[in-house]
Amino acid sequence: MLAYIFRRLLAMVPIVVLVATIVFLLIHITPGDPAVIMLGPDASDEAVAELRSELGLDAPLYLQWVRWFQQVLSGNLGESIFFGIPVTETIRRHLAPTIYLSGLAILVAIGIGVPAGVISAVRRGSFLDQGVTMVAFLGVSVPEFWLALNLVLLFAVNLNLLPVAGYVPPSEGLVASLRYLAMPAFTMGFVQSALIARMTRAAMLEVVVQDYIRTARAKGLHSRHVTMRHTFPNALIAVITVVGIIFSVMMGGNVITETIFTIPGIGQLLMSSVLRRDYPVIQGIVLLIATAYVVINLLVDVAYALVDPRIKY
């Protein structure tokens, strides 16, 4: 197991290098001079030249690439042009709300998706199954930001039950913070629960045709017992995979919900940095999220072995 994790960590290196290279190139595929774009059209020539040398843009491309890697490896992602503080510090300040929101949203997604998937697999072909399938299709088809806007209109504007937008950290009152995050977490969770429900259903249906399920039934076990003890645990692999994927998708999905609900997380920071053309911050966030994705994938594979003793690495 440890050897496997070590091998996988080694295999991560080329992917992360490629990811970092793509991130590095982002600034260079920009048509025109990045320094001019960052400073705006009214900037003086001296200011542009100064920023160019500050960013190292006057060096040849391969040298810039080497420098960028040296920086990244030493944990230095440069300095935010807008805030004037290190990018790592800027990101650190915005990390907590994103992780908190994603965690809540995952809970919502699993809470809706897994039971819906199990029920619709057990009652395959029933009215309930068709209903769940239909809702799941709506879930993957509805634009997330549109759902968010309609929730705001209903629960905040018309019913006045929840705050329109904003963020309160849990340290300043758990109930208050949950009230603020209820709509964003539901928006993200609902959209993703559709995927979980469909994957759970499909995985359950693959398992129920196995011989050991027939044996369990033949032993006269109660059908609920068969479902919960024999079928579901064997369908868990697929569910874990999809939850892993969803967690990384949520880092991206956060951009939408965090922007609409003005939650000061990574997503909102990314969006405002894009609008401000704060390239070092954009690069830092994209690198962080992509690396997180690779790590989450590794954790998912490790989790396989934990839930299924047949899988050994």
Partner: protein, 291 residues
């Protein structure tokens, strides 16, 4: 797969067609999508007025006989704008599918057929996949600048690894069939074996994936435009109409409701159709359903 690979001749196509037509969701999905395609194609003809015509006195008019879907804050007819928005979404969806196929298909084909290049190409695709689609699209748009063509480029790049993976998976299966070995034994060059014998037998997953990428692209355009990183704000795209209506949500909810419904129906139709198509084209499912 019950070893039934070689039986995938012409007859199963009839079977598949029957399976396809027997599933009501496919018909419903296809019908929804085709209806929206018709609306989009005919947008310039059936729109009551131009999508940019402003009638300030009529601003924020609720849906009525004159303005079927109401008007926006500039008094522009929402019916015309949504119809043109659907049209643009269809154009972007189509071009994104073409772009992601143009990149992903050759990569997947080569990676699946030539084991030497497999690792290199697929790790490259993995690196691209490591970026959540939204993040990569936003980052690319930040670099490229807002325009419909750049939305297509950004989304095309974002979704090409999905296409590459699907094609590679199909090639790995097809490569083992006897007719491929036979073609190789005849001394055909790799390029010919790939394009004449392998590729034509890998097209059904490409078509299925294409419907999903189309759906993602429609959602992607709406999202990017909504965030202000997509099509320039003056262009009537579904995302832009939604973004513009956001401020007036409580006074004039129709500005956000109708483009949202249009996006949802477009994506729902494609998802239902693609899902049914996937089932119909999966030989395992054809076997089990038709006995």
């Amino acid at each position: 797969m019950n070893g039934d690979g070689p039986n995938l001749g012409m007859a199963p196509w009839k079977k598949r067609w029957r399976v396809l037509m027997r599933r009501p969701v496919v018909l419903v999905g296809g019908a929804i999508f085709l209806a929206l395609v018709a609306l989009g194609l005919l947008a310039p003809v059936i729109s009551p007025v131009g999508p940019q015509v402003m009638r300030i006195p009529d601003r924020l008019t609720p849906p009525s006989a004159t303005y079927l879907l109401g008007t926006d804050d500039f008094g522009r007819d929402l019916t015309s704008r949504v119809l043109h928005g659907i049209r643009l979404s269809l154009v972007i969806g189509t071009t994104v599918v073409l772009a992601s196929t143009a990149i992903g298909l050759p990569v997947g084909l080569v990676a699946g057929y030539l084991p030497r290049l497999d690792n290199l190409l697929m790790r490259l695709m993995d690196a691209l996949m490591a970026f959540p689609a939204v993040i990569l699209a936003i980052a690319l748009m930040a670099a490229l600048g807002p325009s419909a063509a750049n939305v297509t480029i950004a989304l095309g790049i974002v979704y090409s690894p999905r296409m590459a993976r699907i094609v590679r998976g199909a090639v790995l299966v097809v490569r083992q069939f006897e007719y491929v070995t036979a073609a190789q034994a005849l001394g055909l060059p790799d390029v010919k074996v790939m394009t004449r014998h392998v590729l034509p037998n890998c097209l059904s997953p490409v078509i299925v994936q294409g419907t999903f990428i189309f759906a993602y692209a429609v959602l992607g355009e709406a999202l990017l435009s909504f965030l202000g990183a997509g099509v320039p704000p003056h262009v009537p795209s579904l995302g832009n109409i939604l973004a513009g209506g956001r401020v007036y949500m409580s006074q004039a909810p129709w500005i956000t409701i109708f483009p949202g419904v249009a996006i949802m129906m477009l994506v729902l139709g494609l998802n239902l159709f693609g899902d049914g198509l996937r089932d119909a084209l999966d030989p395992r499912l054809v076997q089990s359903r038709t006995g």
